[in-house]
């Protein structure tokens, strides 16, 4: 790939603009822009509401040189809305003229261990292979919710992630896949795993309780279907 023209940041979170995935995408958007490449951000949750939206999204995908899926981990894998779009892209992959395309995936999980995202990445690799795209690399993030609603630039804990993403952007612009070192740096846990696991296991329930409404606090352990 000599000259990169179009980058598509595909946001796979059902939470759309409020999501961690969007925060990461916004950072990438800025980095591509700083490097003179115009990227486009698009939200799957908005596109799948109508047939026209899905059609337009597919056109965007087919028209892009680099596609970066940024998504949360839902039940060990890719969110259903994103699976839907991937099925559509795969089904119509031979309908249009196809150029060389690169596909990268960035997954964030609420659990501390980045490796819990690994199966979703494997599925994305399979998707890239089945649709004739070149696999460009991946980043896996644990404790993704700690990034929610915050600018990546302002978070000390996201330093490794930023460094890895910066290298990834430069490589992609040069038409190369993300170097393994950059994948490893970007996928480092946001805080030491032992601490993260202890905090989550010990205080996670309290943190959730703080988000509950009055009614829910009384019924936390409710078993409506027992």
């Amino acid at each position: 790939m000599n000259q990169i023209i179009k980058v598509l940041l595909l946001i796979g979170s059902p939470k759309g603009e409020k999501s961690t995935s969007n925060g990461i995408s916004s950072y990438l958007f800025k980095k591509f822009k700083e490097n003179g490449v115009k990227a486009k951000k698009t939200y799957i949750i908005k596109a799948i509401r109508t047939k026209t939206g899905v059609h337009e999204l597919k056109s965007l995908v087919y028209d892009s040189d680099i596609i970066i899926l940024v998504s949360p981990l839902y039940i060990d894998s890719i969110p259903a809305i994103t699976v839907k779009v991937m099925e559509e892209i795969y089904e119509h992959k031979n309908d249009t003229f196809r150029k060389k395309q690169m596909f990268m995936a960035i997954f964030n999980s609420g659990f501390p261990e980045p490796h819990q995202n690994d199966l979703a990445i494997d599925m994305c690799k399979k998707f890239a292979s089945d649709t004739g795209m070149e696999w460009a690399g991946s980043v896996t993030i644990g404790m993704g919710s700690s990034l929610e609603g915050k600018a990546l630039e302002k978070l000390g804990m996201a330093k490794n992630l930023r460094n890895g993403l910066d290298t990834a952007v430069k490589s992609l612009i040069a038409g190369k896949s993300v170097p393994e070192e950059a994948e490893i740096i970007a996928s480092k846990p946001l805080m030491p795993l032992t601490i993260a696991k202890f905090v989550m296991n010990t205080f996670g329930g309290i943190l959730w309780r703080n988000r509950m409404n009055k009614n829910a606090k009384k019924k936390v352990y409710n078993r409506p279907y027992a």
């Binding site: 060990d76 699976v83 959730w208």
Partner: protein, 190 residues
């Protein structure tokens, strides 16, 4: 014993529908109480990641559709059978959509399983899991992912046991024996 069969096939002519009939027939012979849900004909909402099922109405999704009935049936079952075309190694959109609607059956609280953090299960016990996938042609990587996915799901759902089978190729000469043997193994343990 109660079994819930969730069929995530994409169309009426999917080989997965043949698998569903065989599984139901075999389990019925052994007097299982069967509830079947064919998702392709249902207009279920997708999970919107709001966590309302934990922070507003604990144990119940705030989206009012048949997804809640299916989550209820799963919570009361001894065995959950997941049927799906293998899609990039994972489940179809239809099946994945429903699995996300089972989040209310978990608690927001955390626990450690095999050293990893997972959510606690809301109910006293979780059903065993059986997943049967279909691939139009043999694909080692898809099969590997599919099998691993079910074992990961079993961890998250606190399921005491899980079984996976993937069928490939034409279903015209479909050999039922493989499914019958698999079900016998499952029934012995349940």
């Amino acid at each position: 014993m109660k079994v819930v069969i969730i069929n995530g096939s994409n169309n009426d002519w999917s080989p997965i529908n043949i698998v569903e009939n065989i599984v139901a027939k075999e389990l019925r012979k052994n007097e299982w109480e069967i509830e079947t849900f064919e998702l392709r004909n249902k207009n279920l909402a997708t999970c919107i990641g709001c966590f309302g099922c934990w922070i507003k109405t604990p144990g119940q999704c705030i989206q009012k559709d048949e997804g809640n009935e299916i989550a209820k049936a799963v919570a009361r079952s001894d065995l959950l059978v997941l049927l799906s075309p293998v899609t990039f190694g994972g489940y179809s959109f239809h099946l994945k959509k429903m699995l996300e609607r089972l989040i209310p059956n978990l608690l927001p609280h955390f626990t450690k399983i095999n050293g990893e953090i997972h959510h606690k299960y809301r109910y006293e016990r979780s059903p065993r899991l059986l997943a049967v996938g279909y691939l139009s042609r043999h694909d080692i990587e898809s099969e590997r992912i599919f099998k691993l996915l079910l074992s990961r799901n079993a961890l998250n759902m606190h399921s005491p046991a899980n079984y996976t089978e993937v069928f490939t190729g034409s279903m015209t000469n479909f050999n039922e024996d493989k499914i019958i043997t698999l079900l016998k193994n499952v029934e012995e343990i349940v």
